[in-house]
Symmetry: C2
Subunit: 539 residues, 2 copies
Amino acid sequence: MNKNKKALSILMRTRMRPPSPSSSTNRINHMQFPPLDGGGGVSSSSQDGSASFHTDFERVRESMHSAISMNKTEILDAALDDFSEGYFGLHNEDRRTLLLTLAREYDLNRIQVRELMKQYLGLELPSGDKAAENVHEEEGSFSAFYRIERNLRHSLKPMYEVLFERLNTHPGGLRFLSIMRADILSFLAYHFWTPKRNPKHMSFQGGKCSVVEALDSYLKEKLITWLSPANLQLHHITWDDSASLLEKIVAYEAVHPISNLLDLKRRLGVGCRCFGYLHPAIPGEPLIFIEVALMKTVAQTIQEVLWDDPPTPESEATCALFYSISSTQPGLSGINLGKFLIKRVIDVVRRDMPGISTFATLSPIPGYMQWLLSKLASVERSGSTFSENLLKPEEESALLEAAEEFATGKNGMEVMRNLLSSTSYEWTKSEKLSLVLKTPLMRLCARYLLQEKKRGKALDSVGNFHLQNGAMIGRMNWMADRSEKGLRQSAGVMVNYIYKVDHIEENAQSYFSKGEIQASDEVRAYLEPQEDLQEEMKD
Amino acid sequence: MNKNKKALSILMRTRMRPPSPSSSTNRINHMQFPPLDGGGGVSSSSQDGSASFHTDFERVRESMHSAISMNKTEILDAALDDFSEGYFGLHNEDRRTLLLTLAREYDLNRIQVRELMKQYLGLELPSGDKAAENVHEEEGSFSAFYRIERNLRHSLKPMYEVLFERLNTHPGGLRFLSIMRADILSFLAYHFWTPKRNPKHMSFQGGKCSVVEALDSYLKEKLITWLSPANLQLHHITWDDSASLLEKIVAYEAVHPISNLLDLKRRLGVGCRCFGYLHPAIPGEPLIFIEVALMKTVAQTIQEVLWDDPPTPESEATCALFYSISSTQPGLSGINLGKFLIKRVIDVVRRDMPGISTFATLSPIPGYMQWLLSKLASVERSGSTFSENLLKPEEESALLEAAEEFATGKNGMEVMRNLLSSTSYEWTKSEKLSLVLKTPLMRLCARYLLQEKKRGKALDSVGNFHLQNGAMIGRMNWMADRSEKGLRQSAGVMVNYIYKVDHIEENAQSYFSKGEIQASDEVRAYLEPQEDLQEEMKD
């Protein structure tokens, strides 16, 4: 008995490995999917355990054709099975060729579309006023409009829609479509693609591929419809769930990797919650899941959340802290299920735990260092005396003094860049240096989060995700994540986004329409001197 | 204790009433929905218990406008609630006016559609051959095509799509949409409609209303997508289900009404199965359900199925008899969920009970008498000596002799019509008369089932339903349903449709493409003399 207990205890502490060596490429961070590298396709197939053999391309192509063009539904099921099995057996390059074939050869019938358009343009547009006077004439002309419009709607659907629709209602088909879309995204991210077979047809290299982009945008729209929140079930994930489901949580937790079974058990235990969205067609595998810690105050470091014992008694909790949200499906990139999940979870927690009034995140800032280092480098390159100094004079002199023994550089910015880009993170080991860097790093982080944008949206992907969901920036936390990843991404800074229940929609709306970012006074305070500086720089 | 048992026994035998007096108008027979009369709308609303007050039309119209045009999702939820509550409070006539407003004022932007079409027609269609040679040029011109096609797809969506989409993801919205569609169908069936408010806009009377037809066809397509079998759950309905769910089975059982709790319990007990399709957004209310009896042989009368005690021991059963399939949603008319339900149930029964090899129905023939009586009347009216005699000479003389004391008429057909159209069904009480009528009634029934068509499909709605699902006509059964309804609809004849697992798809396909009806030799045998007769008539 005692022996068993000991064995269990060892098992629980054993470092966990994701179910397949490739699954790390499937990890998705905070709803933002990095362009899949060439391995994207393989990782999907190896998950299905069928990458070991190579299927004949032509056979798969034929089964795809059958799956699109057949009528008899029983044989159709077999054709769909054939096609998906064959697809999983294809090498990456063959998958790409097949997707390109699908996009090109099962496109619209443009001759028919043009014919209908000509008919339509030949109709006289009925005017509202006249219509009221002679209803029967109006009726006749409207009915011609509706007829051609309906026909046009149908003929504007590419032929590959049939394949998507059929797969969606076929067992396992929705999951297959999600993998297919992951492959399409990997195709689109794979810029320089050299042809293998049919070189005549496959001869483009690099650049855009709008025929595959059209395939992607069509499939994405379909997936958005099929995965509408009405079709998803919120599931409270607990230690009583099946091992096969929990294994997926371990494999796909992208933000703070789960180290062993004890760690997992703790994240599902007292003081914690984990919720996932399940689709009936993909049972036992949440499409996305969120981890929540119930706390007395909004946590400032990930240490408090994950490792500080013991957890807060639930009756004393006033805050639900979302510390991780991970998607399991690279193929659902750009389909914001997280937004609905967060709202549903807020509703459930408010209903079940009236003592909780604060809903906040403790989030990474994945793009901060990348932005800052390239900003420092570009200022350096320009070399002009008029170029912006990212450091204030007093920050620069303090830094130059403290950094003497760690890094060199012709000015403060170069020293800063050298310190921050060193992968040994020496600066974090010197208290003096950390202190000197804190001021500019926090100030520049506020600038990055509040002012740096791309097409009117926050440059930081996690920031953009929470802001579009209606959160505000509540607080920045120094040395909140000392892990290698945390230091590399954001010099250890983390941020609390706050979901104020009464302002979620208003914030989401003003962010969406005007790009306005809501932030607390505390965060704004970092910026004011910076704004003055920018004013000066403009002169 | 004994007293309680007695009370329970009385309760179990108490005749059951549908949950609301109006629900009888909601009963749908075998997937074929009769045109809803003026009461259709009211019945939906009274189910929601809000028909008692009359909502102000303008207020509902405004909430509809908000629900379509608003952006903020939180207030949007309130607007959708407002709109659906308001809608339920409207009188039938106001609902119709509102639906017409929705169809007319939230239609396409046709100016924009025409503009895009003109742009599109201005593009040069890239040829496949040229494309292969100059990929980059092809790329540019294709991307213009895709862009305009995508824009056209969007602008060909009527504005009311937003309302449908928003309601679909709103709690209770899918159910509301189903009620709204029932109202649209009732609108379209309500030919002579006199205007009440805004007479200038509402002045058409009778005839087609293609703007509302377009609304209906659009909503129907949306519902088909949302209710795809992938989103439906098969539920085995048992006596352990909630009273509120079982109440719905009682209310909507359309084929063989459930008389009391004992009857219901028997239909869910040993030797029986009941399966329903549930959608996650409409919990506790199967959209459609099917009742199955497990039997030693294919039943010939409904008596054997419903009332003969005791049921077959399940281990001895070789046949699964589908004796009733009912839809609970008039608004899902034309969306064939029954087809998928039957296939799923066949799969489940085959898996769980390998002893069962025959899958058959015992089905009513709802249109037989209506067809026969109008056929008899039209032959009579034409009065020509060359017109078809539906009776063979020997049938006619036997009938004239046997019918002497029951009915008069100048010939056999007139006597037959008088006998069959009498609502006292005297003919069933005379053994002699029944015997004499049996031969022509069975023969003509085979003709009705196998040869009478409308637009290439079987005229009988139940027949068309099973044939399009891939069944064949197996056997006709004399005096199989002696209920008033059975005699009125089909002179008591019922039919066994057989689902042969290996031929389902083939049959469905040949029925769909060529209108071919598969039937057993036994059924065909009724027809051969009739075909000879038809040959003679043509000369």
